[in-house]
């Protein structure tokens, strides 16, 4: 009897968007037709998106990668003996040896692309739930201390120390505390939350369970954007499997501690990624931003003490509790500790997920990993940190990815998304789009954002038309100043980042002498 060979075809939605479903079906049909017994595993994505659909074959030497594999390539792969790692133009060698992947530090994303995302057995076989096992042996304050010692800062973009937030909730009084996961990943150029939820949902479930133990919360919600249906399905499957095996529920692994988890869907409002707007939405209301204070840690969901953290922050907790705060803290630079899942997107030859310790430079990411632009033209600008992040010109590409280094350039790392633009981009149009996006997504509660963004679009239209440019640029700066300083939340308050950085770094596109 021969050994059944495992063939991995990703189920990640980006892989599916490039035809992975059809590839998997054709591989199954081709194997059946040739009378070969294979085991097709629908894994997550490794995050090497220029190679998707990336098909891997388990061999004695390790998993061998072929990509990008379209349905029409399948018969040729069988002919080339790919099930034994045979040579073929699409062969990429051992997956783990692909430099793009090999040179990363995958801590939070240790399992993505390797396991079947919804298999609890697979999760346990790859060091899953070791953090929770440790947490169950610790007092709540000791769990919080591990997270504080790790130096983890909020990966949603605000970079607030996670341990300090947890400590506030631990010490707050309330009848019912909550853990809320902000999975409303609306920033263009970002997909690391999506990948965690689709490709390793158990790590988020585990992280939230540990957070519950740490602060005394027994109920958790994942507020997921509706644009992520595959994440929704996989999260619900993971939650059901965790419940069935006693990792969630009234008595976690016989500890007497309870934690329940529920996924709630957003409905296409970008502003609901702002934490207080998200809480309003979870309560069944319009997503209007709340005044702070009170902080959500004191009065959050339904007026109760609430930890609200981004997906990546919570998904980084299991490895911190498994290997210790110091292990995690030893990665990174300055006050930016640990790793950041960088998402490289836009006009780039090799887009993908790059989890690196803080300190890697933009240039290394764009050229060593990304290989330059997809179009082959020079990269003119990159936007880092989503639609509210600044545009950086080539002269700033040596900036290390570090919260403080970016702040020094009046830029932000945000959620770690990097979008590259080649030299065909007109930055005045990008500035106009930033204002337009703010106008579309403003919750309307504060005037600078609600009115300012609409006025901003009008002023940008005049500038683009070349009407009273000097006067209108002065007006744009004045308007940006008002939005920056007087908006209630980051939507209105940070829209000036892309607008003014575009204007300051690329004055020529605004009709000014550069």
């Amino acid at each position: 009897m021969s050994i059944v060979i495992s063939v991995y075809v990703p189920r990640d939605s980006s892989a599916l968007s490039l035809g992975a479903e059809k590839t998997a079906k054709v591989i199954a049909a081709e194997a059946a037709q040739r009378g070969i017994d294979i085991n097709i595993v629908r894994n997550g994505s490794r995050g090497l998106f220029w190679l998707e659909p990336l098909v891997e074959v388990a061999t004695a030497a390790g998993r061998v990668a072929y990509g990008p594999v379209q349905a029409s390539d399948v018969a040729g792969l069988f002919d080339a003996g790919f099930l034994e790692g045979g040579e073929h133009p699409l062969k990429q060698g051992l997956t783990e040896e692909i430099p793009y992947l090999k040179n990363q530090e995958r801590l939070t994303n240790a399992r993505i692309g390797i396991t079947d995302p919804v298999s609890l057995d697979d999760y346990l076989a790859h060091e899953g739930y070791r953090g929770l096992q440790n947490a169950l042996q610790l007092a709540p304050a000791e769990i919080v201390k591990q997270v504080t010692d790790s130096g983890l800062r909020g990966r949603g973009g605000a970079a607030f120390p996670t341990g300090i937030k947890w400590n506030t909730v631990l010490n707050a009084q309330g009848e019912q505390k909550y853990i809320v996961c902000n999975a409303d990943e609306g920033d263009s150029g970002t997909f690391s939350d999506r990948m965690i939820m689709e490709d390793d949902p158990f790590v988020l479930v585990e992280g939230m369970t540990i957070a519950g133990l740490a602060v005394g919360a027994t109920k958790g919600y994942i507020y997921l954007r509706v644009e992520y249906p595959h994440a929704h399905k996989n999260l619900n499957a993971a939650i059901a499997a965790a419940e069935a095996a006693g990792y969630l529920g009234p008595d976690i692994l016989g500890s007497g501690k309870a934690f329940d988890l529920e996924v709630r869907l957003g409905a296409g409002a970008y502003v609901c990624g702002e934490e207080t707007s998200l809480l309003e939405s979870l309560e069944g209301k319009r997503g209007l931003v709340r005044f702070k204070p009170p902080l959500p840690a004191i009065k959050g969901l339904f007026g109760q003490p609430t930890v609200i953290n981004n997906v990546i922050s919570l998904a980084s907790v299991p490895i911190i509790l498994d290997k210790g705060g110091e292990f995690y803290r030893d990665f990174g630079m300055g006050r930016s500790r640990g790793t950041l899942p960088i998402q490289l997107a836009g006009n780039i030859k090799r887009p993908g997920l790059i989890e690196k310790a803080f300190g890697v430079t933009l240039r290394e990411i764009l050229y060593d990993y990304g290989g330059g632009s997809a179009s082959g033209r020079p990269i003119k600008a990159v936007q880092v940190g989503g639609p509210l992040g600044a545009f950086l010109p080539e002269s700033q590409f040596d900036t290390p990815l570090d919260y403080e280094a970016f702040a020094a350039h009046w830029a932000v790392l945000g959620h770690g998304g990097i979008v590259a633009f080649d030299d065909t981009v007109d930055m005045s149009h990008m500035a106009r789009y930033a204002m337009e996006f703010c106008a579309i997504e403003s919750c309307g509660k504060c005037t600078p954002c609600r009115i300012g963004s609409t006025r901003g679009v009008e002023v940008m239209d005049d500038i683009i038309k070349g009407q009273d440019r000097t006067k209108n640029i002065a007006l744009l700066r004045d308007l940006s100043d008002t939005m920056l300083n007087a908006s209630l939340c980051a939507l209105g308050g940070m829209t000036p980042f892309p607008v003014l950085s575009a204007l300051n770094h690329f004055p020529g596109d605004f009709g000014e002498s550069g």
Binding site: D193, L265, G268, G284, F302, Q343, P351, L353
Partner: protein, 158 residues
């Protein structure tokens, strides 16, 4: 379209199944839209009564969120990503092509009722820009030619 026929029993079933949840309004609205494709105006008083809130509050929530719709969609809804990453890969050209190919603008439905067109601000498929989604399935690196092929496939399914 004259009188819209809507399934009151389906709406009442969704409301009764979800009204006990804390913060039940969004789950109820999702449930109704999942069942009917939109949220009929006549369901608003039923939701308001079940949750003990005003009709204005329910209406306010429906209209606040871009995803909820008050009119029936076409048989297939095409979302085109308008965000920055897709723009860097010429989504504007794709957008113009799609509007011309379908003969409709955003928030409209083709006369034969087959396709509705909506903008979306990021599908999380930024590494494969430009991206669209049709009925929840995402497609990456969509050139105008690929757009036409995908639409032909989707039309054939219907």
């Amino acid at each position: 379209m004259s009188q819209l026929v809507w399934d009151k029993n389906a709406v009442v079933g969704v409301i009764d199944g979800l009204k006990a949840k804390p913060g039940a309004l969004l789950p109820i609205l999702h449930g109704i839209q999942d069942a009917l494709g939109y949220i009929p105006a006549d369901s608003v008083p039923l939701i308001a009564a079940a949750l003990n809130v005003s009709r204005a509050e329910v209406h306010g929530v429906i209209t606040f969120y871009h995803y909820f719709r008050e009119t029936p969609p076409g048989r297939h809804t095409v979302h085109i990503c308008r965000a920055e990453s897709c723009q860097s890969m010429n989504s504007k050209g794709l957008e113009a092509h799609a509007k011309a190919a379908l003969g409709i603008d955003y928030h409209e439905t083709t006369a034969d009722g087959v396709f509705s067109l909506e903008p979306v601000y990021c599908l999380g498929n930024c590494a494969c820009s430009p991206a669209i989604s049709i009925d929840g399935e995402t497609y990456g690196r969509v050139s105008p030619e690929r757009f036409d092929e995908i639409l032909t496939d989707v039309r054939a399914q219907a």
